[in-house]
């Protein structure tokens, strides 16, 4: 068995230390060792976007990152979007209200992709949003309601 490596990183604002085997994928670490199962696995090679999380505020595919690579970084998963257990991030509210999900499996990946994008681009139009989410697959919705939810989310995010 290969040696484990000590890593420390922040997850959803909380500091975290661990010793991990190098070949453990970041998505598997989050799902199996931290019980953060909101990040999903859809394709195992970075094409579907269901595993998208934020690293230092930027969306990355956690299924093609090693857990050891989290060392020294700030990670955010969908569980860390809301400010607390009783309220939701305005983008989450928007997806709910605008029917931006059906089975919901792809939803965390979309949320993590859109949050930083809409923070940076408050005036994003439909076309901008489509390009921003072009790397996330959804099989249920046909995307139209996701785009609507994103537009509503941008409004809510910047109303605060």
């Amino acid at each position: 068995m290969t040696a484990t490596h000590a890593i420390s990183f922040t997850i959803n604002g909380q500091p975290h230390e661990a010793a991990v085997e190098p070949r453990l994928l970041l998505v598997d670490y989050l799902r199996q060792h931290m019980d953060l199962t909101g990040t999903h696995v859809g394709c195992e090679h970075g094409v579907c976007g269901a595993c998208t999380i934020l690293m230092d505020g930027k969306p990355v595919r956690s299924c093609i990152m090693l857990a050891v690579q989290a060392d020294g970084h700030e990670l955010t998963t969908v569980e860390g979007l809301a400010e607390g257990p009783d309220n939701m991030h305005p983008l989450q509210e928007a997806f709910w209200e605008a029917h931006g999900l059906q089975c919901g499996f792809c939803t965390p990946g979309f949320l993590m992709t859109l949050k930083p994008y809409l923070e940076e681009h408050p005036d994003a139009n439909e076309d901008d949003i489509r390009h921003a989410i072009s790397g996330n697959l959804c099989r249920c919705t046909g995307y139209q309601h996701i785009v609507d939810a994103a537009l509503l989310g941008a409004k809510k995010m910047h109303a605060k």
Binding site: A3, P22, V60, D71, G135
Partner: protein
Amino acid sequence: MKPAPFEYHAPLSLEEALALKREHGDDGKPLAGGQSLIPAMNFRVAQPSILIDLNKLEELRGIRKKNGALHIGAMTLQSSTEHSDLVAQHAPLLHETIPNIAHPQIRNRGTIGGSLAHADPAAELPVVALALGARFRAQNADAERWLEVGDFFSGLFSVALEPDEILVEIAFPEMPANTGWAFMEIARRSGDYAMAGVAALLTLNDEKIEAAKLVYLNVGDGPVEAMQAQQRLQGATADAAAFAEAAQLAAHEDIDPYGNVHASPEYQRHLVSVLTQRALTKALERASN
């Protein structure tokens, strides 16, 4: 599937990284963005025994203009390059190309050097490098050297780095005056590996073409320069007829595509013909402005 076991190092300095590379040679695989390597490892198509993670080497990141070229650190993120004003200004061909690479999330981890050293024949950056005449700085524990692009790509997924070398920097020379450029690719979906793609440069002298570069992706073992097409264009008047002939040569004489699950070799040739004409037309427009 999950990756096979491996030994992992995350050096904190280039010196440390080069010492590791000296120690392990070809067994020590550099890990850059991982956006190509880790998927391959997930499917066990790649099973490196030792990974040398370069992501902590800030000294390998950065974009600067120097001596008429744009110098980009090998570990510079594709997304940094995408949003760089320096790149937009001094390497517009590169600027046009980057958004074609996969998706934003991939570009947030993928690096310029990583993509070039991986040398996937379907990748975009190698054709840009070849078109611009990029130069590659490689270092080992003792010394550094510069490689010309013609020597760098050495075959399918192969580059001419020695076992103890790491690619540290790439210099993209500025285009000569009166040069127009275009990068285009055609995929089944945007963001997918393209079925064919081209980087085109056209340097004009009045109405005549002084020099032309046509470099293609996914039609050979690496970036493929269309020698006969380029020759046909040299000295010719820049017009649709010349472009059509160049397209014909590029599609049928200069390339030998393998085909894949999405495109037969015949179709790839057809795309090359279409892309050549479209790209040359665009490059001409830009050269004339």
